[in-house]
């Protein structure tokens, strides 16, 4: 893979990743496009610019770790890992089929380069903190990035983990909240509101950065600020648009967990051309 810090190149990769996302979910006839599209720039920026990793050596001890707590948004991770060269691009459309490495939720048994099997919401930050603590104990330079859904942080375990991270000053971890304001049953504000979200993380001892989660230079600056923040873990609240990039999916709770049909796929690919 070729890494780049150029925002225009990262934007171009993001567009390819979005095409993969809608194509693979359409082929599977099920899946979660909304939260995959909202997390695209932040995942692309991490893998293609920020993170230390090597697709040719996935278990490199000094690598950075990426965990997607909201495992249902795995199409974005699969597409990005395939673009990096970890896994075959031409098999992305086998998503959710029996025997496919691209399982319905991330499964380390099928893709050993994944850092964790997730899908039961609320567990990713705890796993990430364990990895970050191990790295710190062994003096490795590795950093851990955990992407959580906004609905996901309604899980109590997230706040157990937040308390641990703040108290143990785990400053080699960044918890990214993909704050797209929509969950399965509707808008987060109607289901179980989270605000004041930044204050919540601050009160648990985290350094908080709020950023437009589709603004690549802003994401790059935020990850740099997180890396420079010592003595505290960082919570990156990425304000995003659910379904970003496909007009009829944007801010539409329907596309949290349903696949585009053939006509919708055609429209989506035209918009992502």
């Amino acid at each position: 893979m070729t890494k780049t810090s150029n925002p225009a190149e990262l934007a171009a990769i993001s567009k390819r990743v979005r095409r993969h996302i809608v194509e693979m979910i359409a082929a599977a006839k099920s899946g979660h496009p909304g939260g995959s599209l909202s997390a695209t720039e932040l995942t692309v920026t991490l893998f293609f610019d920020v993170m230390r990793h090597d697709p040719a050596n996935p278990k490199w001890a000094d690598r950075d770790h990426y965990i997607i707590g909201k495992g249902h948004a795995c199409p974005v991770l699969y597409a990005v890992m395939a673009e990096c060269g970890y896994t075959p691009i031409d098999q992305l459309k086998t998503l959710r089929q029996m025997g496919s490495i691209y399982q319905g939720h991330p499964d380390v048994r099928f893709i050993p380069a994944l850092e964790a099997s997730t899908g039961s919401l609320g567990q990713g930050l705890s796993i990430g903190l364990g990895m970050a603590c191990a790295d710190r104990l062994d003096g490795r330079p590795s950093r851990t990035y955990v992407v959580l859904g906004d609905g996901e942080i309604q899980e109590g375990q997230v706040w157990e983990a937040a308390m641990f991270g703040g108290n143990h000053k785990v400053d080699n971890i960044v918890c990214i909240v993909d704050y797209n304001k929509i969950q399965l049953d509707g808008f987060v504000k109607d289901i179980m509101p989270l605000d004041p979200l930044a204050d919540k993380w601050r009160s648990f001892g985290w350094h908080v950065i709020e950023v437009d989660g589709h603004d690549i230079p802003a994401l790059q600056a935020a990850f740099a600020e997180a890396a420079a923040t010592k003595g505290k873990p960082t919570a990156l609240l990425a304000h995003t648009v659910k379904g970003k990039g496909v007009s009829f999916m944007e801010n539409n709770p329907k596309f949290h967990g349903s696949a585009p049909n053939a006509d919708e796929l055609k429209l989506a690919l035209e918009e992502l051309a």
Partner: protein
């Protein structure tokens, strides 16, 4: 007749204390061993490790779900984490995390539940674990142990650390009678025959091993020859020993400080059904929660002492 071996059954340390000491030994032997506890380190005896290796001890506070998944993360990054709490808390509050972050991805996490059974005594049922072995066995890929005494806990802790994969080890609060004076060998999927006999075989684990030995001694005087097997490896289970017991003794009693309905008895019965069925009886907690009391008083009231094993043996012999 005389018993094939004599057991003094002198009082030894609780297996939680043996666990704590074994952890320190493992900590010295392997720098990758780390420990997590949820504000019970003085009760689980992980404080011994914390004192010796403060950098490698993670105080998680009263938050078991986070602790279990944190342990899975430590394991994924190359550590050998032992996460400990009361069995009732680490297994029940951490169960979903044990399932998704440890069992399903086959992560090298070690889980130790202390204060198992009803012999914790005065604290009562909210703190008593009578379901943990069954729940742990419900996790595909988990290896599950229930050691009976000081030496067996030490050996089993070493087995747990050396094995790659998730492991659950059950420990108790009450002082445990010493069964082993020398190491007969312990292995994953093994058991130890403590007394030879051919009229009936009692398969027991934990505190019930000593009760089974007492029962065998009592019945020996009547000319009843009781084989006693320490079934310390719950999963995988020693199929060979069970089949042999059924074939050679023709009657089996399973004794455990656990719910009878879902405990080791059901697993032993499954193996007997698949290999060589025979009449069986079960000693365990019978579809109820216990109460506060002295450990001795509770074990008596809820049917977990030698006289209960004797009664079960008489029942099963009557059905032979």
């Amino acid at each position: 007749m005389a018993l094939s071996t004599t057991y003094e059954l002198k009082t030894g340390p609780a297996t939680r204390e043996s666990f704590g000491k074994a952890l320190v030994a493992l900590g010295h032997a392997n720098p990758n061993v780390v420990v997590c506890d949820a504000d019970l380190s003085k009760s689980t005896y992980t404080h011994l490790f914390a004192k010796e290796f403060p950098q490698r001890f993670f105080q998680c506070g009263i938050a078991e779900a986070n602790m279990v998944a944190l342990g899975a993360g430590l394991a994924s990054a190359g550590k050998i984490p032992f996460v400990a709490s009361f069995a009732a808390f680490v297994i029940n509050k951490g169960f979903e995390q044990l399932r998704v972050t440890a069992a399903y991805p086959n992560v090298n996490l070690k889980v130790v539940g202390t204060h198992s059974g009803i012999s914790i005594g005065e604290d009562g049922p909210s703190q008593m674990s009578i379901e943990d072995l069954s729940l742990a066995c419900n996790l595909p890929g988990f290896t599950v142990f229930s050691p009976a005494d000081d030496l067996s806990m030490d050996r089993i802790m070493h087995l747990a650390a050396e094995h790659f994969g998730p492991v659950y080890v059950r420990a108790g609060r009450a002082k445990a009678p010493l069964i082993y004076s020398t190491d007969p060998g312990f292995r994953i999927g093994g058991s130890n025959t403590l007394l030879e006999g051919n009229d009936v075989c009692v398969l027991a684990n934990g505190l019930l091993v000593a009760e089974a030995i007492r029962a065998a001694a009592q019945l020996d005087a009547e000319g009843i020859s009781v084989r006693v097997v320490d079934l310390y490896s719950i999963k995988p289970i020693d199929r060979e020993a069970i089949e042999k017991a059924s074939r050679e003794c023709g009657a089996i009693v399973v004794a455990e400080e656990h719910l009878k309905d879902t405990g080791i008895g059901t697993r032993v019965a499954q193996v007997a059904a698949e290999t060589k069925p025979c009449p069986m009886e079960f000693v365990g907690v019978d579809n109820t929660y216990a109460e506060s009391g002295t450990p001795e008083g509770l074990l008596q009231k809820y049917g977990l002492v030698a006289t209960d094993v004797v009664a079960a043996i008489r029942r099963v012999l009557a059905r032979k």
